[in-house]
């Protein structure tokens, strides 16, 4: 959506959205806020170093630099061009709050409903532009010819009809698939569609083992609300975590930063406590914000307070049950700082792309990613397509895609898609979860391969019109595929770093693993390999306190 907004107005743009435009996906759900350097005492270099340190040095440095450098500009655009109004200090300047893992209080926000404000304003703007929206239409697969992307097959969910859209450029931004775990935070429709589409074209994915678990997902029993995020601003404001023995357990794991430590550390600490039998019956720990005062919690975090009340708990007056919850996929399609992929004509932005956040994303850097990369794609695409006349699409290829997708509708009976989806999520949680071992990963891969095989027997009921079961089948096909890339990458990385923790290799190993794991389709299945990080901006050896070397010829526009 942001790419459409930031492109030139005379472009013929079609936005294909699986749900309603601007009313779906995770950017809409952003609670905590947006990291950007706006204060004279803060610096882009500091934001950059926080991002790299947070990413444990395997970030794509050019991408990371692109994000932090453009973040202030995008904030000004959101405010001044689109009319977003972020919260102000008493004196009327934009308020910036603390967020975990940051050297400066630089998170811009609007209460705890930041994403609604951003997405509503982008949508409002696009409503008045000559942009075609295809809503409740899902992109199914890319169309390619002679090694170029030439369009996509999409499915209008309302009518059940397929459509071929040809284009001089395709921007994938479907938001990844952190939904592959049984406890997860994202919007329900996300299912790694973009990553799966790119994978099927033979494009490399990177850092797929790097799945971020948010430490505080609400546990509410058998409801879709389980897993929903209690945002970490509340830990920034001073909330505490306890186990069932009333110990503030972060004292043991991160005595200095305590609950303000980065997500990976807090998630693992909670997980260890739960595993050691010091968790609640539902398998959680306790988040306590009551000492901050009922009124303060209600006023500062109104959305979250309401959510806990809806499930019979109350953040402002009680400890609430939380568990690590799958939140954000750092891994994704390999791109350059202008969102380009190895496939001419194909651009990838947002969570579908990998690299910017390395092994761990800082809170507040996700929406920077979706808007800054959206902006990059919006600005670069017009240049790239000028004069480009891609070959026409191959109708046989489109036909094959449609055949594959419609097959389960024609089966008289077979496996149940919802049962299979549950199984996938459980396998991921248990075998490819917060704490991993080689043995568990191998077993997990076996189970995933089997699930993918059983997908071939799934039968879907009903007509083609607004068929959620059919939609679930398509989701699962992509999720199971991408889940396998996650498990294989996790098995390949024999060390622990950031979000990826191997009990059998508990140490970080900089001699071997200042590298990114890549995975790609080949003739016999999946191929995994590693590539050393290119230290284009900063070398770990050069970091001495606050001294940073950032070369200045790396602005996205220069390339």
């Amino acid at each position: 959506m942001y790419a459409a907004d930031d492109g030139p107005v005379d472009l013929d743009v079609t936005v294909v959205v699986k749900k309603l435009a601007g009313k779906s996906g995770c950017t809409r759900m952003v609670q905590g806020g947006y990291n950007a350097v706006l204060h004279s005492e803060d610096s882009v270099e500091d934001h950059y170093m926080d991002t790299i340190e947070g990413g444990k040095w395997i970030n794509d440095q050019k991408l990371a630099w692109t994000l932090v450098e453009n973040a202030p500009k995008v904030i000004r655009k959101l405010e001044n061009d689109l009319g977003v109004f972020f919260d102000r200090d008493e004196d009327g300047h934009i308020h910036q709050k603390p967020f975990a893992g940051q050297s400066f209080d630089r998170t811009v926000h609007k209460g705890d409903l930041t994403g609604i404000e951003i997405m509503t304003k982008i949508r409002d703007e696009l409503l008045t532009r000559d942009v075609t929206f295809l809503e409740e239409t899902r992109a199914v697969d890319l169309l390619t010819r002679d090694g170029e992307a030439v369009g996509a097959v999409v499915l209008d969910m309302r009518s059940g009809e397929f459509e071929v859209i040809t284009a001089k450029a395709v921007v994938l931004a479907t938001g990844g698939g952190a939904t592959m775990y049984s406890i997860s935070t994202p919007a329900l429709e996300k299912s790694a569609d973009g990553q799966a589409m790119a994978y099927r074209q033979g494009l490399p994915l990177q850092d797929m083992e790097m799945m971020q678990f948010h430490p505080t997902g609400l546990l509410a029993g058998d409801t879709k609300l389980t897993g929903g995020v209690i945002e970490e601003g509340i830990r920034g404001e001073g909330a505490h975590l306890y186990n069932t023995e009333d110990e503030r357990f972060m004292e043991k794991y991160a005595p200095e930063k305590m609950e303000r430590a980065t997500r990976d550390i807090v998630s693992r600490a909670s997980y260890e406590e739960i595993m050691a039998g010091r968790g609640t019956e539902r398998g959680g720990v306790l988040l306590d914000a009551t000492h901050l005062g009922t009124e303060f919690v209600e006023e500062t975090f109104p959305g979250m307070t309401e959510r806990t009340r809806n499930v019979g708990q109350d953040l402002s007056t009680q400890r609430v049950e939380v568990s690590p919850t799958s939140h954000y996929h750092m891994g994704g399609v390999t791109i350059d700082a202008n969102c380009r992929t190895n496939l001419p004509g194909l651009f990838v932005a947002g969570e579908d792309a990998g690299g910017a956040h390395g092994a761990n994303r800082l809170g507040g850097n996700g929406v920077v990613d979706s808007t800054v990369l959206g902006k990059q794609a919006g600005q670069v695409v017009p240049d790239r397509i000028e004069g480009r006349s891609p070959p026409s699409y191959d109708p046989d290829q489109a036909e094959r895609i449609i055949e594959r997708i419609t097959e389960p509708l024609n089966r008289p009976g077979g496996a149940d898609v919802y049962e299979l989806r549950d199984e996938l999520e459980e396998v991921m949680w248990e075998y490819v979860g917060v704490v991993r071992t080689g043995e568990k990963l191998e077993e997990g891969i076996e189970r995933l391969v089997e699930i993918r095989k059983r997908l071939e027997d799934v039968a879907v009921s009903g007509s083609r019109r607004y068929n959620l079961e059919w939609n679930e089948y398509m989701d699962l096909e992509n999720l199971a595929l991408i889940a396998e890339t996650v498990a294989r990458s996790a098995l390949y990385r024999t060390e622990s770093r950031g979000a990826h923790y191997r009990e059998d290799y508990p140490e970080r190993d900089d001699d071997e693993w200042l590298a990114n794991v890549h995975v790609r389709r080949n003739d016999d299945g999946m191929e995994t390999w590693k590539e050393d990080v290119v230290f284009s901006q900063t070398h770990p050896a050069n970091v001495d306190g606050s001294i940073v070397t950032v070369s200045d010829n790396t602005h996205a526009e220069s390339n």
């Binding site: 749900k19 309603l20 009313k23 779906s24 996906g25 809409r28 759900m29 500009k73 000004r76 655009k77 405010e79 001044n80 061009d81 689109l82 009319g83 109004f85 102000r88 200090d89 008493e90 004196d91 009327g92 300047h93 934009i94 609007k110 409903l113 994403g115 609604i116 404000e117 509503t120 304003k121 409002d124 703007e125 409503l127 008045t128 532009r129 309302r158 919007a187 329900l188 429709e189 509410a220 029993g221 058998d222 409801t223 879709k224 609300l225 929903g228 959305g303 309401e306 959510r307 809806n310 499930v311 019979g312 919802y418 009921s461 009903g462 007509s463 019109r465 607004y466 959620l468 079961e469």
Partner: protein, 243 residues
């Protein structure tokens, strides 16, 4: 286990001559939302129901439907919080049904388009610092409670006049947030648009929008505020035409 009977609107306009209601037994606990109940019907009872959702957190506004006679967000409506023992669910009023519980929101969003929701500020761009406006300023006090709108359509469904002859509450609420924003420039055009017959005067002050809004936005009060503003402007323009 505790159970509730869910009675659900089923209708495929392409096939069925008229809608029907079907009942299902759904197990519930203290944390079961109406959306969870519908998922149970969908996933466990294998009914392949059509409904709309995304965030399940009350932020996308997709899952709004008429639940026991009131438009609510299904994901934010705990079943045990409903007074009745039965749960009856049907799609929003005033909008065409696509299938079962899913409505076509286009007429609702066209009313947003009508008030031209795009923001235009003079003298502010990507190179200028955001405006300095204290949070306790009069304008922010009016705007702030009104920007929580999730575009769910509950107010539109509850309004007896929304449709061709009236833009409806949410679009006017949006216009108000823009009109009161000192950064925004299109004040005259917007007032003119709102003065047309389907604008603020179309409102019959029944207040159902405010009563229904799941985000507790004082929608109706805002519309009355704009009516007064429009009258004041009219008088001013007659007395001081060049102003």
């Amino acid at each position: 286990m505790n159970e509730r009977e869910f009675t659900v609107h089923r209708y495929d306009p392409k096939v069925d001559t008229e809608p029907r209601f079907e009942s299902y037994d759904v197990p519930i606990s203290a944390s079961t939302s109406v959306l969870d109940g519908l998922f149970h019907i969908q996933e466990t009872l294998g009914e392949n129901l059509s409904m709309r959702f995304s965030c399940r957190q009350g932020v996308c506004g997709s899952c709004c439907m008429e639940i026991n006679g009131k438009a609510r967000l299904a994901c934010q409506t705990p079943v045990t919080g409903l007074n009745d023992r039965k749960v009856t669910v049907r799609p929003l009023y005033n909008l065409p049904v696509i299938k079962d519980l899913v409505v076509d929101m286009d007429p609702f969003f066209e009313s947003f388009e009508a008030i031209d929701p795009s923001f235009v500020a003079e003298g502010l761009d990507e190179n200028s610092d955001p405006a300095v406006i204290p949070p306790d300023s009069r304008e922010r006090e009016v705007i702030e409670p009104r920007t929580d709108c999730v575009g769910c359509g509950a107010c539109y469904s509850s309004c007896s006049v929304a449709g061709d002859t009236y833009l409806g509450p949410a679009a006017i609420n949006k216009a108000l947030t823009l009109l009161k924003d000192s950064r925004e420039m299109k004040t005259d055009e917007r007032f003119e648009r709102l003065s047309e017959t389907d604008g603020v005067q179309g409102c019959h002050v029944q207040g159902e929008c405010s009563n229904t809004c799941p985000k507790d936005i004082p929608v109706s009060e805002g519309i009355q505020l704009l009516k007064r503003d429009a009258i004041k402007r009219g008088i001013k323009q007659r007395l001081f035409p060049s102003d």
